[in-house]
Assembly symmetry: C2
Homo-oligomer: 291 residues x 2
């Protein structure tokens, strides 16, 4: 039995029962819930291979109950996501969007000075979630001579970085907070109004994880009032729709969830997704199983 390509959950629901019974593997991409109801439509489903490291849309307890394996594409995208996190921080603090516009508009050529901005190297940074991506971000920022802090479920082996058991304590200790949490209900609004207040008017929030990890209303209120210095955001609630309040802010760098959006990495993610499906269909061990 070959692989069956299903373009979307809606398309899957539109298939007749015989066709659905053919499906043993789903190559999944997207943010719509893949829950028990969807799995029940595919009685011979054996594996859902997710395209992406974050698999919060796929309900793993339901998969467990249905005897369905889940895979994701970890590691191959760490470098790109870490690069974008560092780049958003630098671009925000050095006001590089504004700098580029200052040159392009001709304002600089007509003698208008460009306002001074803030030094990045040597500052204090906090990584929230020290998984593989968080650590890749931290390793890069360490080369910018930063004082390193982190929050995670447990203390890790690190080269002299300071552990904070509490997210507010982390935010209070740093100039920059980089969110590299997993998504899902456990981290919903983890970056709360209290965390944002602790980061303060000189602080900058960087989020490359999921829009759900941040209380977006509190974030917008703080940015608009100048109670938070700025933000660099690659992820949003309800994306690709973005709260128009973000679009009006000068102090934010906004990116269209392109953390892993390079030719090289998307090719590697697709390959790993296909390799997981091939391994399942051929009865070999899954390369990057989630459950």
């Amino acid at each position: 039995m070959g692989a069956v390509v299903v373009e979307s959950l809606d398309a899957m629901r539109g298939m007749d029962e015989a066709a659905r019974a053919e499906v043993r593997a789903v190559a999944y991409k997207g943010h719509h819930d893949f829950d028990a109801a969807e799995m029940a439509l595919l009685p011979n489903l054996g594996v859902i291979a997710n395209y992406g490291v974050g698999y919060d849309a796929i309900k793993v307890p339901a998969a467990d109950a249905a005897g369905v394996r889940v895979t994701n594409t970890p590691d191959v995208l760490n470098d790109d996501v870490a690069d974008l996190a560092v780049a958003m921080l630098l671009m925000q603090q050095r006001r590089m969007r504004q700098g580029d516009a200052h040159v392009r508009s001709g304002a600089w050529g007509q003698g208008a000075e460009f306002a001074l901005n803030r030094k990045v190297s040597g500052r204090r940074v906090g990584i929230m979630g020290l998984g593989r991506i968080g650590r890749d971000i931290a390793d890069r920022l360490a080369a910018f001579k930063m004082e390193m802090h982190y929050h995670a479920r447990s203390e890790k082996q690190t080269p002299g970085w300071t552990y904070h058991a509490d997210p507010v304590s982390l935010a209070d200790a740093v100039d920059y907070l980089v969110v590299a949490l997993v998504g899902g209900p456990e981290t919903e609004n983890y970056v709360s109004a209290e965390v944002i207040a602790a980061l303060g008017p000189d602080g900058v929030l960087i989020n490359i994880s999921r829009g759900s990890t941040v209380d977006e209303g509190a974030l917008l209120d703080a940015l608009e009032a100048g109670r938070l210095g700025g933000a660099g955001l690659d992820v949003f609630r309800g994306e690709p729709k973005v709260d128009p309040r973000f679009q009006a802010l000068d102090s934010v760098v906004l990116q269209p969830h392109q953390g892993s959006g390079t030719h090289e990495t998307r090719a590697a993610m697709g390959q790993l997704q296909r390799d997981n499906i091939a391994a399942f269909l051929e009865g070999r061990e899954l390369l990057t199983p989630v459950n």
Copy 2:
């Protein structure tokens, strides 16, 4: 005798002879030539303290002949300039100006995909000029897992980086070329049409040194024809005026010579400039002498 503040070379030329004879120290800032003719106007001049690490506007042989000491402000700005170099590279390759516009314009929210771009980590980078700033750039890029190459007048002690005696050989070996040369006649057009051709259609040129180090006509021709992949430029010939051909290019990141443009670093530069003048006036050793 206290310090005399002179607002500009023109103002200095407008001072009467007695006032000019009072001047023992000049706190210099700018890019206009300070040559033998200007020095001759100040018969008791002892020191020109430059604001900035690059002192190519101050003619040191003329200062030597006139018995005038020259100081600059090295090191205090290295971090900021290195930060901006790395940031321009990331912003160019990940198309972050375009990404921000894609979100702000509402295009993303209306369902328009953002094009994939290029992975930065793990690529090959060449540093042209491995002085203190060049090395600070290299140290940061090493944390992005890059293969390191460099060109300098002589081979240096480095951790496994590849030395190229010839600039074209360097450009040919790498994806990214970062220019960190000193300015002045010796490095005029050092990044020649041949160097740009060797860098090639996937290559990116980053310049944080001086506009004079690059053959700007050859650079613009290559960018417009797609024979060079892109550029990140903080310095230009004739700046703040910029060739309007740059402003029309999508593949470049343009910055208004803001490499050292942070509150923290500009304060440190001013302090070092004043400290050099104070040391001279009090007969102490200069902190950061050039000659």
